[in-house]
């Protein structure tokens, strides 16, 4: 054993050059930069599967994503009021209040502290559209119409006749839109006050807010 120790001493089982330094040299300094963000890959990835099944599931996935944005479970925080109340607020987004819930869960299955009381609709000074009492989405159309009529009757004396017209139009429009838009106010169909389609309207609030970081363009 002593003899073989000397014979095999200076031989390595691998190619020494691959290490990057020779015998007796100091170890190379460590790299100071972080590793590259997209390191080059040695092997190409396995190609994606194709086929009818795959395409169908892809379509399903995209549909689910799109439709979940319209469900009441998609919660958007109410925008905090900016400096002054504007005339356009009346026609802009439907009031997103934090303290109303757009669908009614079964409160008996949840802790009492989570219960959010739905406020009865009331008229505000600028004549905003009243919020109807939220019914379960899947109530029969007829029931819903009856209910709406009932709530309207209750508030008949407080209401402007113009508001009632709005409600009727809205009900009809709601039936056109289908279940998803029941609780949404469709600004596009407000035909009594403006001729403009609301989604085109840009009140310029977002004008100066963004694109401040792109200083390449000259600002006149």
């Amino acid at each position: 054993m002593a003899g073989s120790r000397g014979r095999g001493r200076s031989q390595f089982t691998f190619n020494v050059d691959a290490l990057g330094f020779g015998r007796g040299d100091s170890l190379p300094t460590s790299a100071q930069t972080p590793s590259p963000l997209f390191p080059p890959m040695q092997f190409r990835p396995v190609p994606l599967q194709t086929g009818e099944e795959v395409d169908y599931m892809l379509a399903l996935k995209q549909e689910l994503r799109a439709s979940s944005k319209n469900l009441p479970f998609h919660i958007k925080a109410a925008r905090t009021k900016t400096d002054v109340a504007r005339y356009s607020d009346k026609y802009q987004n439907g009031e997103l209040k934090n303290n109303c819930i757009e669908w009614s869960p079964d409160w008996s299955r949840m802790p009492k502290e989570l219960c959010i009381k739905v406020r009865k609709p009331r008229k505000t000074a600028i004549g905003a559209k009243p919020q109807l009492k939220q019914k379960p989405k899947v109530a029969a159309k007829k029931e819903e119409v009856l209910q709406k009529l009932e709530t309207l009757e209750k508030r008949e004396e407080e209401q402007h006749s113009e508001e009632e017209e709005d409600e009727e139009k809205k009900k009809q429009n709601d039936e056109e839109e289908g279940p998803d838009a029941d609780e949404d106010y469709d600004e596009e169909e407000i035909e009594d006050e403006t001729d403009y389609i609301m989604s085109y309207f840009d009140n310029g609030e977002d004008f100066g807010a963004d694109s401040d970081d792109n200083m390449d363009e000259a600002v006149y």
């Binding site: 691998f14 190619n15 040695q42 092997f43 990835p45 396995v46 994606l48 599967q49 099944e53 795959v54 169908y56 599931m57 892809l58 399903l60 996935k61 995209q62 689910l64 994503r65 439709s67 979940s68 469900l71 479970f73 998609h74 919660i75 958007k76 925080a77 934090n98 303290n99 819930i101 869960p105 079964d106 409160w107 008996s108 299955r109 949840m110 802790p111 009492k112 502290e113 989570l114 959010i116 379960p136 899947v138 029969a140 159309k141 007829k142 039936e175 056109e176 289908g178 279940p179 989604s199």
Partner: protein
């Protein structure tokens, strides 16, 4: 909850429920258990938003509540069930499975229940009938009874189950639907409830409604068998149904096993395995590592007649299946191929089979030249996919006199790969969000133009106007849109496929850990 899982959960919540729910959800995952006020305080969100988010999460079964540490008198505490959030990745697969088993009706039922978390049977039936009616040609409509029968079939095969009844200390009145239970403050497991798969007796007649049809489809008010005192019209208030994910997972697992067998052996043997699995569907508990023992006679009788398998052939196949070393449970080997090349995959598989090997043996068995083998082994080692086991010949661990054996630890490796998968899906989602954000302006423009086109067509405009509107999108923009769509499709498709791997790894890990 690992960091990757938390990140993925956050992205999924944001995608489906918005930023607010995402913030609340991720905070609750990280903190474990919190009360409502603590949660609102720490996330600095208004209390109402927090309440709404918790309601959303509970509706979908992702959040559960229980009595706090101070007992029933103290505030309620909430915690998140992370695996339910991760199941959201798999929704398209569930829906597709329902479609392939029960047709369009089944597909829509499962889709509705998945999107809304929990639903009563009557509301599901109505919504689905309406949707189906909408897609049918004018004049036809979908009868409720068909939808009800599809629903019943789904419940019979356990794909849908009732939501467990709650009897929390805080719940108020509607004790009408339960005999007074002891003050259980935790929601119960669905399987514990004996009525889990019992259909409520509802009398729902009618047909799906088109919009604006004035058809009267109201059911006669009739109390349900379980004597609900709140007399709703359909008679099943308070009974909510949810998707039974375990059952779907069993189905996927069976599918994976059958396809593996048919790849490895042949079609006939896969039929045999399918029959065995179907027979033991109801008798085997969900997490069992092996199905119940079945005699060859039973299998023979249960085989579908179209295959004409004679008895001796069946015996031969069974012997073959038994002798096969693959064992059909773990699939940790296949993921190694992509990143390291197919030869590394060969080495990996070899190590899986032979358990422990010396370097020289690896070269011989895998038929890979020595230098390459060394290189690959060291790469695999640095990625922690293989481990080195030292077996000394002498008490001092002299390198020249020690055996170095390479081996694969399946369970930790599987966990490692699973975390990689979660990270991958997170990256895919983020990349998709980034792509969408970059091209937001273009996407909005194209949406607006589509809306204009649709409204023009509805009002019957002439072709010249339509082409004029279409030209508002220039050709390079069109190209950009096209490539954007292509990218997003690819990213989405990859998510679906990585999810298949995630499913395999998760079931492997769960079934290996179960006996402990």
């Amino acid at each position: 909850m690992t960091a990757q899982e938390v990140r993925l959960c956050g992205l999924l919540l944001q995608e489906h429920f918005g930023d607010v729910v995402e913030k609340v959800g991720t905070h609750l995952i990280r903190s474990g258990v919190l009360t409502l006020r603590a949660l609102a305080h720490e996330t600095k969100l208004p209390l109402d938003l927090v309440k709404k988010s918790l309601c959303v999460l509970m509706q979908h079964g992702m959040c559960a509540f229980g009595a706090g540490r101070r007992g029933p008198a103290g505030p309620v505490e909430y915690h998140i069930i992370c695996e339910r959030i991760l199941h959201m990745l798999r929704y398209p697969r569930y829906i597709y499975t329902a479609k392939s088993l029960y047709g369009d009706t089944g597909e829509l039922i499962v889709e509705e229940i998945l999107q809304r978390g929990q639903m009563t049977m009557s509301s599901t039936v109505k919504t689905v009938a309406d949707r189906l009616t909408h897609n049918m040609p004018e004049g036809q409509s979908m009868d409720y009874s068909e939808v009800v029968s599809a629903f019943s079939r789904l419940v019979e095969t356990h794909f849908l189950q009732r939501c467990p009844p709650m009897a929390s200390a805080e719940s108020s009145s509607s004790g009408a639907d339960n005999t007074p239970l002891p003050a259980v403050t935790q929601p119960t497991e669905p399987e514990d409830h004996p009525e889990c798969y019992k259909l409520p007796y509802i009398n729902l007649t009618g047909q799906g409604k088109r919009r604006r049809s004035s058809e009267d489809g109201e059911a006669d008010p009739r109390a349900a068998k379980k004597a609900k005192t709140d007399s709703s019209e359909r008679g099943d208030e308070g009974i909510y149904w949810q998707v039974n994910f375990q059952r779907f997972h069993l189905h996927f697992r069976d599918q994976a096993i059958i396809s593996a067998v048919s790849c490895k052996l042949d079609q006939t043997s896969s039929e045999i395995v399918r029959t065995m699995l179907r027979m033991s569907e109801v008798t085997t508990p969900t997490h069992a590592a092996f199905t119940q023992a079945l005699s060859a006679n039973e299998i023979f009788r249960a085989l579908p007649s179209s295959y004409n398998i004679a008895r001796p052939i069946l015996d031969q196949y069974l012997t073959l299946l038994v002798d096969d070393p693959m064992e059909f449970v773990g699939k940790t080997g296949d993921s190694g191929g992509g990143m390291f090349g197919s030869r590394s995959a060969r080495i990996f598989r070899l190590l899986l089979r032979k358990r422990h090997l010396e370097q020289k043996q690896v070269e011989d068995f895998a038929m890979v030249p020595a230098k390459e083998a060394k290189d690959m082994l060291y790469t695999l080692l640095s990625e922690n996919l293989v481990q080195l086991q030292e077996i000394p010949k002498t008490p001092d661990y002299a390198p020249s006199r020690t055996f170095y054996l390479y081996t694969v630890n399946q369970l930790p490796t599987a966990r490692l790969l699973l975390q990689h998968c979660y990270k991958t899906v997170g990256n895919l989602i983020e990349r998709r969000l980034y792509e969408t954000k970059e091209n937001k302006r273009l996407l909005e423009k194209s949406q607006r133009i589509e809306a204009i086109l649709a409204s023009l067509q509805a009002t019957g405009a002439e072709a010249a106007q339509l082409t004029e509107v279409e030209e508002m999108i220039t050709a390079p923009e069109r190209q950009q849109l096209e490539s954007l769509r292509h990218h997003i499709n690819k990213l989405d498709s990859s998510e679906n496929q990585v999810d298949e791997t995630i499913f395999l790894l998760e079931s492997y890990i769960n079934s290996t850990q179960a006996p402990r």
